[in-house]
Symmetry: C2
DNA sequence: TCTCTAGAGTTGATACGTCAACTCTTCCCT
DNA sequence: AGGGAAGAGTTGACGTATCAACTCTAGAGA
């Protein structure tokens, strides 16, 4: 059980700073992606993942795994993207269920044009502003954090 | 104009790692806050800000300023919190408009109990896992990022 | 006084994300 | 074969976030 005391002003400031930095960065990237390519960050993630898959198609569960998203999030996102004509759900196995997620031509085009531009934006807003020490610190911290909160799932009861 | 090339695998990995770490951290904090205190991160932010204000009341625009949220976000949030009985909108000036945002007794209680607990969680999940070098790197990077994307608007240059 | 405009705040539409509940299929056990 | 659990995927409800459009008030200027 952790001790419960309020944060020192300096601690609070660091936390607040970090949260804000995070938010302005992701928000700005999302804004620019929308403005320049007409797609959202969520759509971009799905488009990229699908366009890298062999045959440009995957199952929902594979998409969940690759994106580290939950299945309902993926499903809702696919519904929205199906409505926009970026992906299509078609039958896969014998059961007649629509379990194959494919990229449409429109989706593929959108992915291709956005990938370069978004890479440039990630560079410009994130990577280029990082000193080597900062990059190392962020990498180490991120790894810790992911391990700490999301232990490589496999039954590690704690 | 930035050069447009795709990210090196290592660059992409850092970006992906950072995004995931961010997400698991904020998600976990939100989850725990909800579980232990029955309020969301957004509600927490508003409650804390209001409970620190003199008289425990503010105008919407002051709330916007303090939280660095946009006004419609604040307004929608206040509507939800008004429905939950955490805040109340009452008349302030002569015009009869409901421009004063006050904390209810319920809201104050919720804030008090959550503040300690959430501070502990921020400590446990974020601050405690930071080495001094990481803390310094994160602070410096955050400041850069905020300056870069959100230049201190308000005329007082310097 | 009348109008114009700027600012404060609200609202509706829409997208995103989570939880819980649901359907459908498969496959194991008897 | 019949029953039931497990897994895949969907759906509905709800909270959250953004944008654009709207209302209302106050204040400036004719």
């Amino acid at each position: 059980m952790a001790e419960t005391r309020t944060l020192e002003p300096e601690e609070w400031e660091l936390w607040d700073l970090w949260m804000r930095a995070q938010r302005v960065l992701t928000q700005e990237l999302d804004r620019v992606l929308r403005r320049d390519f007409g797609i959202s960050k969520a759509e971009f993630s799905v488009l990229v993942t699908l366009s890298r898959a062999p045959g440009r198609e995957m199952r929902v569960s594979e998409l969940c795994e690759s994106l580290a998203w939950e299945k309902s999030r993926v499903s809702h996102q696919l519904t929205r993207m199906e409505n926009r004509g970026f992906v299509e759900r078609t039958q896969c196995g014998a059961g007649g269920r629509r379990t194959r997620i494919g990229l449409t031509a429109t989706g593929h085009r959108a992915a291709q044009s956005a990938i370069l531009g978004h890479a440039g934006n990630i560079r410009r807003y994130f990577l280029d502003s990082l000193t080597p020490e900062q990059a190392a610190a962020i990498r180490a911290w991120s790894e810790q954090m992911i391990d700490q909160v999301e232990p490589p799932h496999g039954g590690s009861d704690g």
